[in-house]
């Protein structure tokens, strides 16, 4: 975690939001907040853009769809020349056409969902940097229980005392600067 942060701790999410609104109004950039549960509407005070993970998911889904169709058309339909002489191995299965598109729908759908879901979650973990066994960097051992934290990058703001004053005024029960 970044050092030299102004840390303000609150015990009530409403108080935190109130303080955030004030800080945002004054044009002070917020570094991050740490809360035990997601607080809706917090993004507007922190200039958080809507994540593009949804777009990523869509692309993964398309990837899954094309992978599925290529696989099935290539394998059962003999539509692809994957380097082997597949054409000669088209197999008559119950008199169905080799490219039985209707039969391909269920698997195409499932692979779309599979790729979209897993691709998105893996990307989420990559961009957030969470991984199994990672040691959490905590500012307070209750920030995942009932303490709500706002941090401001002390390097990016001047007049630290004034900011701390505002935070205390707005209800922070503890305000400090990390080393």
């Amino acid at each position: 975690m970044k050092s030299n942060l102004i840390v303000a701790k609150f015990w009530n999410p409403d108080t935190l939001m109130d303080a955030l609104a004030e800080v945002h109004h004054k044009g002070i950039p917020v570094y991050d907040c740490y809360t035990p549960f997601p607080i809706h509407g917090i993004e507007q005070y922190m200039d958080i853009k809507r994540t593009r993970l949804t777009i990523a998911s869509f692309i993964y889904g398309l990837l899954g769809l094309s992978a599925a169709l290529l696989l099935m058309a290539g394998v059962n339909g003999g539509a692809l020349d994957l380097g082997w002489d597949i054409k000669s191995w088209q197999i008559d299965v119950g008199g169905k056409p080799y490219l039985a598109w209707v039969d391909f729908v269920p698997i195409a759908f499932e692979l779309t969902v599979l790729f979209a879901a897993h691709g998105m979650v893996i990307t989420f973990f990559i961009i957030t940097g969470y991984y199994p066994g990672k040691k959490a960097e905590l500012l307070d051992d209750r920030q995942t229980d009932d303490v709500f934290i706002m941090t401001i990058d002390a390097d990016k703001v001047v007049r630290h005392d004034e900011i701390k004053q505002i935070l205390t005024e707005k209800g922070a029960f503890e305000v400090k600067t990390t080393a």
Binding site: P38, I42, I48, N76, D103, P106, E110, T128, L138
Partner: protein, 470 residues
Amino acid sequence: MHVEAQVRAKLLTNTEQYSQITDDIARPIEAAPNKEWLFWTTISAIVMTVCCFGLIGYLLWEGIGVWGLNTEVGWGFDITNFVFWVGIGHAGTLISAVLLLFRQTWRNSINRSAEAMTIFAVLCAAIFPGIHAGRTWDLIWFAPIPNTRGTLWANFNSPLLWDVFAITTYLTVSLVFWYLGMIPDFATLRDRFTRKGKDVAAGIYGALSFGWEGSARNWSRYEIISLILAGLCTPLVLSVHSIVSMDFATSVVPGWHTTIFPPYFVAGAIFSGFGMVQTLLIVMRRIYKLENYITMEHMENMAKVVIATGTTVGLAYMTEFFVAWYSGSFFERYVFINRAFGDYAWAYWIMFSCNVLSPQLFWSKKIRTSMTATFILSIFVNIGMWFERFVIIVTSLHHDYVPARWANYTPTWVEFGIFLGTFGLFFTCFFLFSKFLPVINMFEVKTLLHRPKKPSGIPEGKKDEAVHAH
């Protein structure tokens, strides 16, 4: 201004502080296992080991012949149990995903255990397609991987292969969805154990928590991907049971070859799943004293879903009969008459009374709010839905086209044993889950708490009163 979560006091009773929620839900995890839990977990584990794993071993050693199947009835308990367990799994996804999309906050306190139920049920289900095959060890041939057998891959026309893809996708996506939901709660437990100086537990939950620290930027992403996952799970859950139903619907067997199957199976799956959720939650809220989180409102809502889906299933039963008559198909008509009045009529009428008639009792508020009555009715739902699959599979196969090959099917003790064994597996998993994992989604329930009281050990801030005033 900011948006507050919609609050309905009924969904969370007698709770004033965030830490109180953590305390209540972490209590079973921290406490030493009580005797009751140890007893039932041991029983389940024994049933799982002996009946499930032991008998599967016997089956693999001897061959499918130890079951009561025959040339005519090629599927019996195996596929019945498969469809039964998959169906049970569906309510979990429905509660966690579909109700999330519909912004039904009442799901917040039951989604975790419902999702756990999904995963354990799908695990139980996945056993059966595996062991029902004559050569289980060759099932790798289902996988579409290049191989040394030339270009002989898998048959993408086969509904059984669709099943493999559907179940794999469903199991893994549900698992990810479930696990993702637990990460913040693992972090809560990690920090709680750290505070209490329990380093081993803190280390385990810490490793599981992926280093979660509750950053608002990541919460923002987290919420979006949860929503997208829910959006993906919704069509997924519908597709999975539709595909399971296509095992039957795409065949030529009279009684299976029916276009009504996909919606009918999905309704049945939701129905049976909610029945199972009721059964489990009634027990769990009693044992773990979670009445403040799983309230009467929850139980009533679920009873209403059971009436709706039970009636839908009943409508499907009658539609089947109508279509059999209306189609003019000789075989179709015979199969349905045979279903209701033939050798397996007893199974048909057990199914009909458990699925269509008994849930109608939930129209009475008295029954809906009586936990004993709800528990009994939920068991009936489970029984009825098991028989539904049995009736569909066995009665259609045992008398089909050629009367020279009509036969009855009598399951053997091995089939009963393996079915019992999957209950052992299911409950072992569920008991372990309820002891070692947070059974209620702590962070989501916390969003339901309105106007929290100041926690202990925290100095007074200047603004507290002012905030409470608005």
